[in-house]
Amino acid sequence: MFKKILIANRGEIAVRVIRACREMGIRTVAVYSDVDRAALHVRKSDEAYPIGPAPASDSYLRMDKILDVAKRSGAEAIHPGYGFLSENAKFAQACADAGVKFIGPTPHSMNLMGSKTSARQQMEKAGVPFVPGTSRGLASADEGEQVAERIGYPVMLKAAAGGGGKGMRLVHTRQELRSSLESAQSEAQRSFGDSEVYIEKAIVNPRHIEMQVLADEHGNTVWLGERECSIQRRHQKVLEEAPSPIVDPDMRRRMGEVAVKVAQAANYTNAGTVEFLVDQQKNFYFLEMNTRLQVEHPVTELTTGLDLVHLQIRIASGEKLPFKQSDVAIRGHAIECRIYAEDPDNNYFPSPGKITVLLQPSGPGIRRDSGMYEGWNVPMDYDPLLAKLIGYGTDRQQAIMRLERALYEYFVAGIKTNISLFQRILCDADFQAGKLDTGYLDRLLAKGNQAVASNAPEKERATLEMIAAIAAGMFTVLDPASAASKDKEGNTTGPAADPSNWKQKGRSEGLR
């Protein structure tokens, strides 16, 4: 087993991996950019080294600097987390060349699956069902128009190197195709350094369901059940659950077997996820394989009782899978909410800044994987994911109730978060009935905010309004000094700062 592992990531996932290492008695090495010196992953690690300026391309994406830290610190393995270098075959190769174990699949498998186009070509050969489209990048807009004409609109443009919705466009008509292709290519270039974009028939209102697989380096591959990931915004997952409300044991087994076939066709090792689109008749089509640990891996951990990061590390160190497919049992139900730094009242714009107040939930059936803390300044340079709140219960209904309770306890001030969005989703009738597809969230949001406003009955709301008024007064009376005075940057200054308008007002009122 490894004695020391470098975590080439930041945020909640770096903290997640550091925790697993500590549990296994492995020392951890963190890396950080200039704006992340005070980040939680640095605080939680055994060793930490700076790797450059804020932009990811100058720090978290710098293979040379990260490998240099690995060498200096004596780390024997690198866990890449998700995002950043996690699906970069060149990095996996560079690790191998430097004699450091990359905790993930081989560069060969990553190359095959990392490009969505070559993955399609490979799966065609292996006889895996997939959506009609091109299996290579578009050479020109003319070619795109021809293919779209053949397979029929609407079509989906996708970056071959893509993920997380970047470089992806839904095109309804011929007129939109050219400009959508250009913007998809430029976004793909900026996000992945590769402008290759291919085209696929868009399945209208599909479900997005994925299957977790795990493969050791001795030829054993297992599937660990599906995750329902249909609730998305701008192709970014927002809420995931396991199991899917529509997958029965037979369908689960069939999807699992296809996923194992996909993994084996790519000589896949370590943790991976096979994504499927599922149409209204429950036909499933291979979409892509994610060659990394997924953001939403906790829902699988809770429903299988396995620790995927422990297993990733054990597999990478050469151990065999400690269980067989027939040992895997799905138990209970888990739902994950991705807490993002974004403003629900302002079209979900990103909302970086300083967290002035943080009240975090816990208690039965609640797991919280978080990268934030009170007083931390959320930098604007990275993904807005702050934390994941996962509810677990005997069944879906109990998981929902526990999450609703935990969201009620969750409070973040100073920056905006999407916590209120989950309160809307969880009490929505369609969600509760499991009627989900990738268009679900857009439809819910189109309904506007009435759903939330009518949350509390009119009479109760009037009471709460009176409480709010009394509270505003009591805050001013009891705690005038810390009544958050602001400097020009909008930063909250401490209790010892200049008397605020509040204090002055409070005083002048008091004198009357």
Binding site: K166, E187, S191, R234, A341, D343, N347, F349, P350, S351, P352, G353, T356, V357, L359, M380, D381, Y382, D383, P384, L407, Y408, F411, A413, G414, S420, Q423, N455, A456, R461, L464, E465, M466, I467, A468, A469, I470, A471, A472, G473, M474, F475, T476, V477, L478, D479, S482, A483, A484, K486, E489, G490, T492, P495, W502, K505, G506, E509, G510, R512
Partner: protein, 165 residues
């Protein structure tokens, strides 16, 4: 102590007076006994005749909110004497409108030039933050009088990016 407190659009008159075991509170003439402590900054535990409430205070550069449970209320404390002076001119379709940066980020590109005509909702400027590109849209139909944003520049929330008239 007397406060005039606006919750949402409604104006309340609040009188607070220290009393045995808490405070005598008179809200819009209605008298209740309350007890209140601040267990930690920006959190208030309020007991109103046996009912327990936890209220969280959230203050931004421009607004003050009280969260009672999961329900958020916009709150303003006001000097009763200047009540009439504060009429919001929001929603005015006439006159110039500033387009403000909604979050910290970097200007990626401009979608229109100065003096061009734009429709309400048309994209003016693209700002990138946290790996997302966001089109900042025109709040009204009109002419772009001025663009103060330059591609590549960092912006802070509230910075004026452009003016549409």
């Amino acid at each position: 102590m007397v406060y005039e407190i606006i919750v949402g659009v409604k104006v309340h008159r609040l009188e607070l007076e220290r009393a045995a075991g808490g405070w005598e509170c008179r809200l819009d003439g209605q008298r209740v006994h309350i007890d209140a402590v601040i267990p930690r900054r920006d959190v208030l535990s309020l007991l109103v005749e046996g009912h327990a409430y936890e209220i969280k205070r959230e203050q931004t550069a421009t607004d003050l909110h009280m969260w009672v449970g999961s329900t958020r209320f916009a709150v303003e404390l006001r000097d009763p004497r200047s009540l009439r002076s504060r009429q919001h001119a929001a929603g005015d379709e006439k006159g110039p409108r500033k387009i403000l940066a909604p979050m910290p980020g970097r200007v990626v590109r401009l979608l229109v030039a100065e003096n061009s005509e734009v429709e309400a909702g048309q994209g003016i400027i693209v700002v990138e933050a946290m790996k997302m590109q966001n089109e900042i849209k025109s709040p009204k139909k009109g002419v772009v009088k001025k663009i103060s944003a330059t591609p590549g520049a960092a912006v802070n929330p509230g910075d004026v990016l452009a003016i549409v008239e």
